[in-house]
């Protein structure tokens, strides 16, 4: 989701293209950061400035899970803590009349031997769904939706969505890269498109601020 340093290109967070598709009444302030879980986002003091800055009428888009759910990472967050941290974000937003939107963690590129996509976020995505239901706030089930999209593409074409680079292909990755978690600029934009389509369903007031396309012809 995060904004990447130029030296990491073409790795792209879906928040980057996402911000291009709103009209001038919206500022997308992307505070996401690589490697962070709900736990480390709070512990490193990344949440407090958000809590301080948000104001009535704002939206808060929340997507965590990748770094919470891996119990070998220092960012690991227990299921209970993941639930209570998400609840904290939602509650603090609501207390300031800010509208939270919860998003289940976007899929990884993992297929079984039969070519069927594997859900790598089963437990943590379910917690997100439950927190949304319990607090009666909009949910974008990006885990499920992006899995369906990857399944449609299949194991081969889906490589184009991720940061897959041949050795010598890209100056920033001389040894090449086969990352099945982080997106290429194409994957990031496709994910942004999926999220925008869901916003039209779950948050029509925000959807009203998505750009009205002009279908500008190409010369």
């Amino acid at each position: 989701m995060s904004i990447k340093d130029r030296s990491a290109y073409p790795e792209t967070g879906w928040g980057m293209p996402f911000s291009n598709f709103f009209d001038q009444t919206v500022t997308v302030d992307n505070r996401a950061k690589n490697g962070r879980s709900t736990k480390t986002f709070i512990a490193e003091g990344l949440w407090q400035p958000v809590a301080d800055n948000i104001k009535k009428g704002d939206y808060l888009i929340i997507q965590f899970g990748h770094n919470d759910e891996i119990n070998t990472k220092t960012s690991y967050t227990t299921e209970d803590d993941f639930r209570s941290n998400l609840t904290r974000f939602v509650t603090e937003a609501k207390n300031k009349d800010v509208k939270p939107i919860l998003i289940t963690p976007v899929t990884r590129r993992k297929f079984d031997t039969a070519g069927k996509i594997v859900d790598t976020h089963v437990v943590y995505a379910q917690i997100v769904r439950e927190v949304a239901a319990k607090n009666n706030i909009p949910l974008i089930d990006l885990d499920s939706i992006s899995m369906k999209y990857l399944q449609k593409l299949g194991p081969e074409q889906s490589k184009l969505l991720f940061n897959h680079l041949l050795p010598g292909e890209n100056p920033n990755y001389p040894q090449g890269k086969e990352d099945n978690t982080h997106f290429s600029e194409l994957g990031a934009r496709k994910m942004a498109e999926l999220v925008l389509a869901q916003i039209r369903i779950v948050q029509p007031d925000l959807a009203a601020r998505i750009v009205k396309g002009k279908d500008i012809p190409i010369k």
């Binding site: 184009l160 920033n172 498109e193």
Partner: protein
Amino acid sequence: MKIRKIFTCSFLLIAGVLPAKHINVYMIGDSTMCLYTADRLPLTGWGMPFADYFDNTVTIKDEAKGGRSTRTFLSENRWAPIVDSLHAGDYVLIQFGHNDEATEPQFADRYTPLADYRRNLVKFVTETRSKNAIPILITPVTRRNFDKDGQIKETHLEYSKVVRAIGDSLKVPVIDLDERSRELVGKLGPETSKMIYMQVDSGENPNYPSGKRDNTHFNEYGARLMAELVLNEIKRLHIELEDRIVKAKQTDQ
């Protein structure tokens, strides 16, 4: 004393201690190379990602413009101001052809016969050199055009040949992007290659509610692939510009 100063100075030069001089790299060409505003996304000219891969001794000045042929680029007075601003050591990357070769009646405004195309390219090269700047010729990037057997077709035949011939006769480095990109798109095949061009389903992207089926222009991903091909050809041909391409740095995940 004077002699010692000169000696010190040349020693620094030999040792490469002096920081590289700042240069401008001008890009002239058409819609496949030019800059686009956010309301056109995901439409992307390959000059856009290309600019991300140079160090801070380089400023990329992408002056390419959609729909332009060598003829209209000149007649609209887009070239003369570039020549005026060129300094010794600057580069001019030249990629035209898509609009020059368009013979359909609706493109009469841009069509340029082969002889004129040749003359215009020679003018770009000669005037660049007159300012001690360095021209690089680039053959027009491929279209997505497959035959019924799934083999990619060559669509710029005559015009790409002219670019290569000028490269030979005037000793100008030629980046054969037509050939390199044709290999790449051909390898992706008829289906997967759709993912790198402006192929947008209706309702998929807010900027193109009606969708788009375009086999000439690239999305952000295709544009970056084309930029990578050009960067790698700059390295393969050992054009001095290669020293200014970014060196990888370890990034955290």
